[in-house]
Symmetry: none
Subunit: 126 residues, 4 copies
Amino acid sequence: MIISLELDGETPLYEQLRNQIVIGIATGGLAPQEKLPTVRQLAEDLGINTMTVNKTYSLLKQQGYIVIDRRHGAKVSPTIDESPNHSAELEGQLQLIIAQAAIRGMDQSRFQTICSQIFSKMTYQH
Amino acid sequence: MIISLELDGETPLYEQLRNQIVIGIATGGLAPQEKLPTVRQLAEDLGINTMTVNKTYSLLKQQGYIVIDRRHGAKVSPTIDESPNHSAELEGQLQLIIAQAAIRGMDQSRFQTICSQIFSKMTYQH
Amino acid sequence: MIISLELDGETPLYEQLRNQIVIGIATGGLAPQEKLPTVRQLAEDLGINTMTVNKTYSLLKQQGYIVIDRRHGAKVSPTIDESPNHSAELEGQLQLIIAQAAIRGMDQSRFQTICSQIFSKMTYQH
Amino acid sequence: MIISLELDGETPLYEQLRNQIVIGIATGGLAPQEKLPTVRQLAEDLGINTMTVNKTYSLLKQQGYIVIDRRHGAKVSPTIDESPNHSAELEGQLQLIIAQAAIRGMDQSRFQTICSQIFSKMTYQH
DNA sequence: GTGGTCTAGACCACT
DNA sequence: GTGGTCTAGACCACC
């Protein structure tokens, strides 16, 4: 799995990293139960501080995407909870994105096509 | 048009405000050419600093959503560019949102339904 | 409100700090809406690093005990959710404590007396 | 006696194990003088490292819960000290637990009821 | 060898 | 002036 960070972007590094790992899980780049790199290893590979990776892992753990086994390090959660209130949050995010798309002249069918393309790459199974 | 801010949220105030105005434009709460409140007025109504509102207006102007006339204040742009490179940015945002939705157990048809509902409220016409 | 940390204890500093603030809220040393010291100030007062205080505040925020207002810093939450699954967690903790008390020869009435004394100092109102 | 460990929990394995054995002693699952499994055996049963079990046994011995005889292995102490300074430690733990319970909206009578239920399962006799 | 914690010191975004 | 982020480097607890 390839990870690329924008060092000078506006999104915090730990959040960029978190996002890419989440996408990796959804698209199958990281299978359930698969072991993640160690904090040190990943930090070195990306050229960033171990604390930053540490924060990412803590966040992912707290959100249920990964579990941290004291014996073998971090791995993708075998099952991920179907967070109930996630739906409301999702709608809020979508509303803004769709508002911008509508203003920029994108029609609904084009939007749905893009969604379909993205969805077709999601291989995560419950 | 009603605007509500979460003072203790994670999103910066100026960005929350910007987002709500964009949604207002897309859903018809703010018509093209419609005059916006003065910086001063809006700041007072919302109980926030004028600098914050100022930053929001500057951002909206820079992104083409509003125009600022020194004499008559700010108003919604008569026409908004169909920014071409907006598409790439959109896909990036959607990818993350859809990844999270997929992991949380939402299937594509449910997702499309939600999109349709939101789209049906968008009244902005080019 | 007085806070004292064991620098060489086994409990992490950020957790000791978190615990004392929680107790402060429950016993009225910190009223709802009351402003907490700034991260820098508290770090200096306690002679520890700002990052450590920062972590404490993040944790308290995440657990709903405090809110962080971008304008004025951190303050005690006006209302704190009555976390539903807290009950199970509580029972687990109590079971261990009571087991140890029973083995050490403490009878139930004595235990209840101690609980009553502690409870009488809790002034937090919903 | 059944022991179950959370490999991905926050509590160290040796401590989880220690806690469950203490509860076992208090609730009668392990009688005074009863022999405990060998380090080797227990480690294998639980699928953990022998060092971990070893550490647990050392801890339990040091705290007076078990005695270790080189010839016959470990067994539950025939009598356990009524450690006097245990009381202070107990109060500290209870204070935090009760503070959290109070904030989360639990009233004293409900709390006392839960304590009674737990106490009724404690069978350890001095 | 793993993650967890802490420090000292720095810079940035937000208001 | 607030909290948020990041770094470099260190030590510790756990297994």
